[in-house]
């Protein structure tokens, strides 16, 4: 176990927005990234209203303390944002917020990939509905 800073420890201990949503809901986008073989899997759910605003976020993560803390920080950052704003969140924003040690940078990359995929999933669901 790494000797983490208090921010990571605290976030790991009390993660925000743990949970899941109905994946079949057309207003829910799901991002599912990582692999068990690599040691971390992140699943994020975003609920988006008609004005493209993220009204709710939930996550479930298999991973180390940094992966869980990164997931939690990501959900707090994107909640309330418009999709266009959420797209701009980068791994650096998350790594900086948690002062992630360099060896754990990939946890923040995973978080960025998760939100990107969740937004893409929502847009794809919408376009399918439109058809």
């Amino acid at each position: 176990m790494n000797r983490y800073n208090e921010k990571i420890n605290e976030t790991f201990k009390n993660p925000k927005n743990v949970g899941s949503m109905d994946e079949t809901d057309p207003t829910v986008g799901v991002g599912f990234v990582g692999s068990p073989g690599c040691g971390d899997v992140l699943k994020i759910y975003i609920k988006v209203d008609d004005e493209d605003r993220i009204t709710d976020v939930k996550f479930k993560t298999f991973g180390c303390g940094s992966a869980i803390a990164s997931s939690s920080v990501l959900t707090e950052k994107v909640i309330g944002l418009k999709l266009e704003e959420a797209k701009k969140i980068t791994n650096k924003d998350i790594a900086d917020e948690l002062s992630l040690p360099p060896i754990k940078t990939h946890c923040s990359v995973l978080a960025e990939e998760a939100i990107t995929e969740a937004i893409a999933d929502l847009i794809s669901k919408r376009s399918q509905q439109a058809v």
């Binding site: 743990v18 899941s20 990234v33 690599c38 971390d40 479930k60 993560t61 298999f62 991973g63 990359v109």
Partner: protein, 478 residues
């Protein structure tokens, strides 16, 4: 420091005296009291040792050192469950070491009393350790630890043959050895020595037939760890020794994890070289030993004053020798009782964990294993996160995320544990100061922690809804 007078010096230069005094001092409530006695006044000038030992209590082997706090509200004083990594130095060993500082001479000074006294301490220590492992003290040299002992054994045997004109050589080891063995072998491979890294079976044990078949005409040495540090599995060293004897090859055994846990009787087994490390059995760090059976040819790999039969040059650390001997003595006295106690704690803990949680896998053979060790995969949650949930316990994990190199355990990989499961593994190793209460609390806490983490694991959700994780197409990001 006051000057050592001859009369004092001669009264304290016998290791038996030191052991006896040390026991006496531990009958007191604190080392402070014993330090009032003039004979070890000097040792008590060392502030750190004095302070560390204030809680040293009875002469019971199970007396918990003050540095192993049970105050679970303070995460810096977590319950120690990593006894394979190292063990806390027994307070009685610390006492013996402190007292031996009375004797400051260099054992290689052969022209005066100071040197002779130091020699006496070293030789008495050597005899004690040799008698515990049923060998002759002439067959035992002191080293800095098992890493050095392994290096001398493997490199020294090869070098000795090379000096006799042999160049085509083959060594056999296994793929679950300690890095001190594996890296030494890798190094020799760079110099043209052939090495077979035998795969052990799924239970962590070496198949004797496979070992037999791996021996070639040019095989000079087999190097096998007796007790594996990650799995606690015990290799059949006696049988391996018979094969080596029959085939005429040398056998080196890394017994760093074995001494104090299982019986070591070198009069009963055919082994040429055996490595030991004091800090694995409640002794000090920085000292170990190497048993070299009579007539086994080993060339030195370090050069200098030709100490330790010319095989390990360098001033012998007298105080550490005293500490190692004292530690060996104490650990041997309680070995059988401890084994039974560990078996009971291991069974109780494993029974409760496996009956309370699904998808729990114990890695490595359960019978041919020291009961101190529990190496467990907690499927669907990551090992480092589990340790973070269990901050009141000090353990280690096989997970890549908890290593500095992001490489998962090569030992679990070698015994065929699924990569997905390696990340979920913890190594829990109990020892002398682990109490039943510790393990009862640990069991409660780990069951809760596993459930909590599974509640937030997407893999657990998938498992519960019947998804086969092996068939999922994963997005790998690194």
């Amino acid at each position: 420091m006051k000057e050592i007078k001859n009369s004092e010096k001669t009264s304290t230069n016998n290791i038996n005296d030191i052991g006896a005094k040390s026991d006496m001092c531990c009958d007191h409530n604190s080392v402070e009291k014993c330090c009032d006695s003039s004979s070890i006044e000097q040792c008590c000038d060392i502030d750190s040792i004095n302070n560390e030992n204030k809680a040293c209590c009875s002469s019971e082997a199970t007396c918990k050192p003050s540095y192993l706090s049970t105050n679970q509200s303070n995460s810096s004083n977590a319950v120690y469950l990593d006894y394979s990594a190292t063990t806390p130095c027994d307070p009685k060993v610390v006492d013996a070491i402190c007292e031996s500082y009375q004797c400051f001479g260099n054992p290689h000074s052969i022209t005066h009393q100071y040197g002779w006294d130091a020699t006496d301490l070293v030789e008495t220590s050597r005899k004690k350790i040799a008698s515990i492992i049923k060998s002759d003290s002439k067959e035992l040299i002191f080293t800095s630890g098992a890493t050095e002992s392994n290096n001398i054994s493997i490199q020294g045997v090869v070098k000795s043959r090379q000096e006799n004109g042999v160049s085509d050589m083959h060594i056999i080891t296994t793929n679950i050895e300690h890095k001190a063995t594996l890296e030494t072998c890798h190094e020799l491979e760079q110099n043209g020595i052939k090495v077979t890294y035998l795969s052990v079976e799924a239970n962590g044990l070496l198949d004797l037939q496979k070992f037999h078949d791996a021996i070639q005409k040019n095989t000079v040495l087999a190097s096998i760890g007796w007790v594996n540090s990650e799995l606690g599995t015990i290799q059949p060293i006696k049988a391996i020794g018979e094969i080596c004897k029959e085939k005429g090859i040398l056998l080196h055994v890394d017994a760093a994890q074995a001494l104090g846990r299982i019986k070591i009787d070198l009069s009963d087994i055919h082994v040429n070289l055996m490595s030991f490390s004091a800090h694995k059995f409640y002794g000090p760090k920085g000292i170990g030993a190497l048993y070299i059976k009579r007539k086994t040819k080993v060339s030195p790999i370090v050069f200098g004053g030709r100490q330790e039969k010319g095989i390990r040059s360098g001033t012998v650390p007298v105080q550490l020798c005293v500490g190692m001997a004292k530690a060996a003595e104490i650990v041997e006295e309680s070995r059988e009782d401890e084994y039974v106690r560990m078996q009971r704690l291991q069974k109780k803990t494993l029974d409760r964990i496996t009956s309370s949680l699904e998808d729990i896998y114990v890695n490595g053979d359960l019978d041919q294993r020291v009961p101190h060790n529990m190496n467990i995969s907690f499927a669907y949650i990551e090992g480092e996160a589990l340790m973070m949930k269990l901050k009141n316990y000090a353990m280690s994990s096989a997970s890549a995320c908890s290593s500095t190199t992001l490489q998962p355990s090569y030992v679990l990989d070698a015994i065929g544990i699924d990569e997905n499961l390696i990340h979920t593994s913890l190594r829990i190793v109990m020892g002398r100061y682990t109490t039943e209460e510790d393990m009862d609390n640990f069991t409660n806490d780990i069951i809760k922690a596993v459930n909590d983490l599974r509640d937030m694991s997407p893999l657990w959700d998938m498992k519960k809804s019947g998804v086969d994780l092996k068939k999922v197409k994963w997005h790998t990001h690194h």
